[in-house]
Amino acid sequence: MDPIKIIQESCVGCTLCETACPFGAVVMVDSETDDKKKIAEIDLNTCTLCGACVEACKFDAIEMEEKTVVPGVELSAYKDVWVFAEQHEGEIQTITYELLGEGRKLADDLGMDLCAVLIGSGIGEKAQDLIARGADKIYVVDKPELAHFQDEPYSAVLVDLINKIKPNVVLCGATVVGRSLISRVAIKIDAGLTADCTALSIDPETKNLLQTRPAFGGNIMATIEAPNHRPQMSTVRHKVMKEAEIVEGRQGEILIQEVAEELLKSRTKRLNFVPEEESTVNIAEADIIVSGGRGIGKPENFAMIRELAEVIGAGVGASRAAVDADWIPYSHQVGQTGKTVCPKMYIACGISGQIQHLAGMSSSEVIVAINKDPDAPIFQVATYGIVGDVNEVVPRITEEFRNVLGK
């Protein structure tokens, strides 16, 4: 039987379901029994079985198979909210503090503990920092082989800990490391994983984790859950959640974990690491981003963008057009084929605001747009807009901030 179908006799052809479907999977076709009537048909290849049409239908004409799934695991055996504490060269990444801030709320709603998993080499002393940021327990795996992130040993160790200790929720940053690691883990342990979440909450009735994320380049939002699997796993976008505050003297447990030698084996080998020359490049972590597009006119004008960024302590971003013209390296590109960013403030200079660019930055808290074209789409998402020549406006802003900040 098809998992979803239209009951021909009940369908009146009102098109409510066609409008409600976010995926374009409902089409109106001629009725087989009544040639004056059009009825809905569902394209199963496009349908994601989200149920939006069932809800929209006023005539009970759509039937979706409701299976009572028997969970493969004893759900109540899974306790606590875990955060993967991402570290590079022994430095805890700020995304970890954001996850702890959000994880604390979820743990409190569930009446469970908040725990962090810290994997690395010689990193034990960082456990206290995580306790100060709200974690109740820290699981530490400290081995020379784990000094740097490597996909296989890190995922094997995390799988081992999850199987042994059985957490209810596992949160990880939607970073390069996080996405590479956690996707492997979810497959190994048959768990549901939702990518790039921008909101998390606990369903008050079912106690399931409700995970909300943008899809279709930010055009729609979807709320996702994994009702019959544990742990419930999510990656969380940078800068969306608030960092947990430091509470000096906060108490917690540090639990050193031993793992089998064979889990530390890696077929891949990290030969070396080459840092980006420009220190302001990690735009995923920047609180403010100043971005330049083709509207700045020529590659040399990125100097003006960099100068403003430096004065106000911002990262430098760019539109795809500027990157494709070789004005600035790809690592600066914001948008669908570049990075998705969510800073406190995004200043778009000479960027028209193609939908692919907006997909990468429209969830920024405050957006400032400077563009000579008053009809540029960027102004539709801007908190503050200035119509004018960027090459005139941007240096004035820099100068003004030099005065304000005394630089």
């Binding site: 497959i187 048959d190 279709f216 930010g218 859950e225 030969l271 980006e276 692919q356 908190t383 004018g388």
Partner: protein, 263 residues
Amino acid sequence: MHIVVLVKQVPDTADVKIDPDTNTLIREGVAAITNPFDAYAVEEALRLKERLGGTVTAVSMGPPQAEAVLREAISLGVDNGVLVSDRAFAGSDTWATSYTLATAIKTLGDVDIIVCGKQAADGDTAQVGPGVATHLDVPQITFVRKIEEVDDKHIVAERLLEEGYEVIESPLPCLLTVVKEINDPRMPSLKGKMAAKKAEIRTMTADEMGCDPAKLGLDGSPTKVVKIFSPPPRGGGEMLEGEVHEVVPSLVEKIKDIVIGVN
């Protein structure tokens, strides 16, 4: 050398707009295209073939009409196209999708390198590449920006990180996911277009691949979509009008607290 490249047909998100009155997606005229990231994967697979010899097989999971992206890959120089298509796959999340694709790759026999785009433009998860690698139990190098060395036994590639890149060596077989920076995709040749028209696309169904039905489609997907809604509209934006010497101080006044707050 057998190289497999995974391609996906996605709606062109540049075409997708929200109807401000009804708050729903306007889909009329939304074209189905090859996932933009997969273009770089196809190009890299072709370059690997040019360096090492062998064949390139493009594999796509999707409805019958997804055949179009396979023909497009063939027009660029890919040797074979395989469409993994079955009603049983409906409602697959990334777990079930990676299981299905991994099973299809196993059905193809020996494979040395699997190349994927870093993520698809509709789901944006970046989970299927590593998922396929895990199901196949092969090592992975994700977010590859450059292949430094490759022969029939091993590969050395640069993985793009937030704050630089790292150089990673892996034995083959291995799965790579690639970022845009890795290459400039070629255009199809006339000969390629002719070949694409004539090419036979092999279709694989769940039965043919010997899939475990419990791991397919909705049943094999741990995650369920419970709600779909439009993002809250931004709006309430303010245009600052006047001469530059007037608007700049007024802008700075409005945003200076943010700047002071982070400095």
